[in-house]
Symmetry: C2
Subunit: 205 residues, 2 copies
Amino acid sequence: MGAREATRTDVPRANYTTQSLLAVAVEVFNLRGYDGTSMEDLAQACGITKSSIYHHVRSKEELLRLAVSRALDMLNAVLEEAETREGRAIDRLEHMVRGSIRVVVEELPYVTLLLRVRGNTRAEQWALQRRREFDNRLSQIVGEAAADGDLRDDLDPRLTTRLLFGMVNSMVEWYSPSRGGSSVDLADSVMRLALDGLRRRDPQG
Amino acid sequence: MGAREATRTDVPRANYTTQSLLAVAVEVFNLRGYDGTSMEDLAQACGITKSSIYHHVRSKEELLRLAVSRALDMLNAVLEEAETREGRAIDRLEHMVRGSIRVVVEELPYVTLLLRVRGNTRAEQWALQRRREFDNRLSQIVGEAAADGDLRDDLDPRLTTRLLFGMVNSMVEWYSPSRGGSSVDLADSVMRLALDGLRRRDPQG
DNA sequence: TCTGCCCGTCCGAACGTTCGGTCGTGTAGA
DNA sequence: TCTACACGACCGAACGTTCGGACGGGCAGA
């Protein structure tokens, strides 16, 4: 019956890095909402105390900034890949849809948090601004594809952009890494639905 | 010049009802997020004091419960209309898409709040549960339409449901009553995109 | 028409709690 | 021994909520 009052060496140190702490924080933010998550909640999820968190990050808002930056950087990388592609705009559009889906799947928690930002703090407003620029460049590509005559002309390009990427972004509400299938299979399904529609063709076969 | 210390009869009473207060509250909740909105924020938006709010509602959570109930009741009404329709499931599906879009447009703030519920409080968990039942009955209809052979068979019905209504639900992120066009025009566009796709047909015409 | 009271509505001032964040100290591992 | 990491105690501010009381339009009784 050993000394119960001995220092608890049976519980090893957490030894977090900023990145591993960020990963936990983003999960909790997505579960409870950013504003609904207290630093005490984060501390318990990490298994350390509140004050220990401040050894790794300056503030709660910095956690948010780091997370949404990561998501935005990934998405912008896809955008710049697409924009340097030559050829028809509809190919750039397909690259954006497939790339966005890949980023959503690979960086799910970070993109989820980004898409839920509301603009309460400076960091959130900055994220919203970057998102708006991203969306504008998306719209540009869809507009070019429409001008090329590769999209039907009875749909407004801006509306098309919103519906198409609204569909892609809705993935953060239901995609699960364990049950969700591969990013490529998902992208195939989305492209089929978006380009050719749900309706069965050639019913007289 | 008149008595400055006179009671300020120039500022009339607000005379809120629970409903008119709810309308203001929901707008602020959508702007700042439910958890990000303090009762003081609500009070300022209403032009009355914090304590006055408690004359109309029991708690902050009751405001949330009233709001999401309204949205869910509207959506369930559409669902029950659809389910009593006889004939092909794809017609019931079209009724659901058009009805959902109409509800989103007509009850935009309430549906917006509903779609952002995270499950922190009892009221939120109850709303999530009702939403899940609603989604299941939607999936049922899509599954029937697929079984009828009216939807292409290379898309999983559950995935189709999520993408289709993910697209519809994304409207709360960008639809504006002033600039947004009518509910019927929007529904036409969505049905065209969903059923027939974006790709231009018959390019050799 | 005037008077007095009722009641729906609103207010100011507090309540106990929780918030994000700070500080000085302890300790495990190099 | 030195340093990175974590700890418990604590801070002022803001939180949701409560409370007793004040305001004023409308109505009954004179």
